[in-house]
Amino acid sequence: MKLRHRISLLAGAVLLLVLLICAGVLLLYARRTILTLTEDQARNKQSALAASFASMARYYAADTDSDAARESLIRYCFARFADQEGVLLRGDDILYSSVSVNPGEYAQPDKQSVAAALFRGPVDGRQLLIVASYEWVQADTYYVGLVRDITEVYDAIGRLTRLFLLVCGLGVGLGMGLLFFVVKRSTAPLSRLTAATGEIAAGAYDKRVAVSGRDEVSDLGRSFNQMAEAVENRIDALTAQNERQRLFIGGVSHEFKTPLAAIGLHGELLENAKLSPAERADSLRHIRRSGAYMNRMIQSLMELLLLDQGIEKEETEPAALLSAVAEAARDGLSARGVTLITVCEDAAPLPLNPTLMTSLLLNLVENGARSYDPEDRNKTVTLRATDRCFEVSDRGRGIPAQAQKHIFEPFYRVDKARSRKQGGSGLGLALVKAIADAHGAALSLDSQPGRGTTFRITF
């Protein structure tokens, strides 16, 4: 059974129980009060009737010798005070009666006492209330009764009961209907939540539920959205990490394949072949270069991976950064015949990771150096720091427009052959982008084939 049905049913049962208890108590109280009042009225009336009759009869019967006169007197005295409810018996003789029942069969007072007897109950399909007592006039005992038809009282109680039940029934019906509606509306978010959970489980990690209000269900919805957000981010991060790891493994296995092959080849040559000292030196050089290549690639990949764990920043002077880059790139640029020009224009200190930024700028500078062919003249790379912005420019071969879309992807090379020959791993610009992203900086490039390239990092 659904939760809303259980809640509605339970609430309806509680409501019905409460209503029935209240109605029952009220009805019982009303019934008892009404019947008690009715009995009291009847008692009072019978008592007055008996007293008046007896008083008058005793007064006038004192000197009555004739039986006929006494009986006529007794009837007259009773008729003076009685109405259609009055009954006067003497033994089995009915002296005055307008009713069709013998009250003596139902209410039999104690002849030794003046206390009245009371009967209330069904007689011949009617509800009768009979109050009776004995009165003594001279030597005779008279049964003075009052017979009241209280069927209408019971009918009124019955109507009241039915009205109560009807009101209870309507109240319960309406209440349950309302409860069901309210509960259904209240639990609808749970259904939506359930559906959203299913969708997320099926892979729609961007699924969220609409939240409104400030109740517990709304809190649950917000918490669910937060959880879904966290899950999505985690999934994205894991996916990205997984992708990077895949790339790393793929890149490593792919990029290491060549230098490892070269190392293996030259190692085998050194081991097995009779090589001249020049050839031996060449092979060792190949092995060293391959090892250095692999080392650089591993470092780059590690940096990429570590960037996911967050970076530490510190206030860094751009000028100092430029100096560090120039120092790190000197040998390499010199070997290529490339001149590094550094320009620092009113650049204020920035919160950044100096090591990573050095690596970033170094990668861009080396990329710029590699964009020249050996035979090119005036090979320069300009490193400029302005307000919250770093630029690295060259006048090398440039990057084709098609390649610009992928240039920051790991292991992407515009010209694979040339890049490997020049020692590029294809991870440099991916690392640059990752560092820029880790700093929250925007990375852009402006390049035209044959006219050079400018990389711009803006904070």
């Binding site: 006038y60 006169a69 007197l73 109405d83 069709s100 029942v101 013998n102 007689v123």
Partner: protein, 472 residues
């Protein structure tokens, strides 16, 4: 859920269906039924009926302070057995009305009441409206609000009547046919005949549903002089008047009326009356110019006389919702010129017979009851404003008196049962010295002398006191 609902439904049905087994009814007769049973236990067949023994006269004297109770009464016992019969106050049948009408109208045209035309109603409305604008007189004993309310009610009534009023209202001469109207009190039909000319007027009201009092048939022939009154009435002995022309003429007229009525009636008592203004009540004695005979008649049932009560009084029992039901009376006044008036009130229709011969208590027991009850019924307690009260019983008769059907408050239906009826007069003197004859007939009311009326009535079957004004 469904099982639960079914269970609850069954539970409720069981609770509602369970009722205590009704007890066997213990039916006992009411006291009226007992009385009827007692009355119906015949001693002998009708053909060998022996009237109850009774003295020729009954005397009684007792005093209670200034209240005196005197009886030197002739006792009359019918030679025929007294039945017990059911009766109902259904008024006067149309056939009876036709016969009375032909007899009493004497061929003169009697016109039906004028029906106001629209023009007449408009004139009346205009007149009332003027009165409304004018306001009450300065010495009027009502407030302006009461004055306005009364006039507005009249105007409203006239406006309602205007809706159905005819354009013209030619004179209509009655032939004695009833017109059916609706009683404003009960909403049932009532039959009305009202016709008159300059000299005569006839008015008959009947309630066939027996749900309203005061059926009556009334006739009057205006003499153009002082009316007759009972102020100086003297009860006459019919035997002594046999040779009186007035008596002979009167009896002829009475017989004609009784024949027109059709039901058996007999003359009960005759008074000689005159047109002198109310005796010496106001200290002035006027001479009588004309005399008449006032004849009270009573119904016969199987030859047995029924009691009569010319007062037409009835009392409403505060303990009951019963419609008041006066005792029947038929009074004719006849003078030298003919019938002066016929006043027939509270007539009954005899239905089935319960018992043709009724068992009756002996008169000595009845006398003992009467001697006991008279001082009780007319005792000084509650009459402190009277200086003295004198009860004088002049006549006791074994007659049939009307009692109501027990527990029937909506219908004028009852029994004529044998009763000893004590007729007489009440004379009282107020503390101021004012004297008057009054019919207090068991304390019904106060009026001027109307003749002998019922002062005590005892059920001849069981001796119980019957209040003829209440009917039980």
């Amino acid at each position: 859920m469904r099982k639960l609902c079914i269970f609850i439904l069954i539970f409720l049905l069981v609770c509602v269906g369970c009722q205590p087994t009704p007890e066997e009814p213990l039916i006992v007769p009411k006291d009226q039924e007992l009385m009827l049973e007692k009355a119906a236990a015949t001693q002998a067949p009708a053909e060998v009926y022996t009237p109850p023994a009774a003295p020729e006269r009954w005397t009684f004297d007792q005093e209670n302070g200034n209240f005196t109770y005197h009886a030197d009464a002739a006792v009359s016992v019918p030679a025929v057995p007294l039945p017990t019969v059911w009766v109902r106050a259904e008024g006067v049948p149309q056939g009876t009305v036709y016969r009375l009408f032909r007899l009493l109208s004497q061929g003169e045209g009697l016109k039906l009441p004028h029906v106001q035309t629209k023009a007449e109603i408009e004139e009346n409305i205009r007149a009332y409206t003027e009165l409304l604008e004018k306001g009450p007189d300065q010495d009027a004993d009502m407030s302006k609000e009461e004055y306005d309310e009364g006039l507005l009610q009249e105007i409203e009534y006239l406006k309602e009547a205007y809706e159905t009023a005819p354009e013209t209202s030619p004179d209509r001469v009655s032939d004695g046919t009833y017109e059916v109207e609706t009683s404003g009190k009960t909403g049932t039909d009532m039959l009305v005949l009202s016709a008159s000319n300059l000299n005569r007027e006839i008015s008959v009201h009947s309630f066939p549903q027996a749900d309203e009092r005061s059926s009556f048939a009334y006739y009057r022939h205006l003499r153009g002089r002082s009316d007759y009154s009972m102020a100086n009435a003297r009860r006459m002995d019919a035997a002594a008047m046999q040779d009186d022309p007035l008596y002979q003429k009167t009896m002829g007229q009475v017989q004609a009326v009784l024949e027109a009525i059709g039901d058996p009636f007999e003359v009960a008592v005759i008074y000689l009356i005159d047109d002198a203004a109310y005796g010496n009540v106001d200290g002035i004695v006027h001479d009588a110019e004309h005399r008449a005979l006032c004849v009270d008649c009573r119904r016969l049932v199987n030859g047995a006389p029924a009691a009569y009560d010319v007062s037409g009084a009835a009392r409403k029992d505060p303990k009951s919702y019963a419609i008041p039901w006066p005792v029947e009376s038929l009074r004719l006044i006849v003078d030298e010129e003919g019938i002066v008036s016929v006043n027939w009130k509270n007539m009954v229709t005899v239905l089935e017979t319960v018992s043709p011969v009724t068992n009756l208590l002996p008169f000595d027991q009845i006398a003992a009851v009467a001697e006991k009850m008279l001082p009780i019924l007319y005792n000084p307690t509650g009459w402190e404003d009277l200086k003295s009260l004198n009860i004088d019983i002049s006549h006791v008769g074994l007659e049939l008196i009307r009692i109501r059907e027990q527990n029937n408050t909506a219908e004028l239906k009852g029994l004529l049962v044998p009763a000893w009826v004590f007729y007489g007069t009440i004379q009282m003197t107020e503390a101021s010295g004012f004297q008057d004859y009054a019919n207090y007939g068991l304390k019904s009311g106060y009026d001027h002398y109307r003749g002998e009326e019922i002062l005590l009535c005892l059920n001849a079957v069981d001796g119980s006191v019957i209040d003829p004004l209440l009917g039980y």
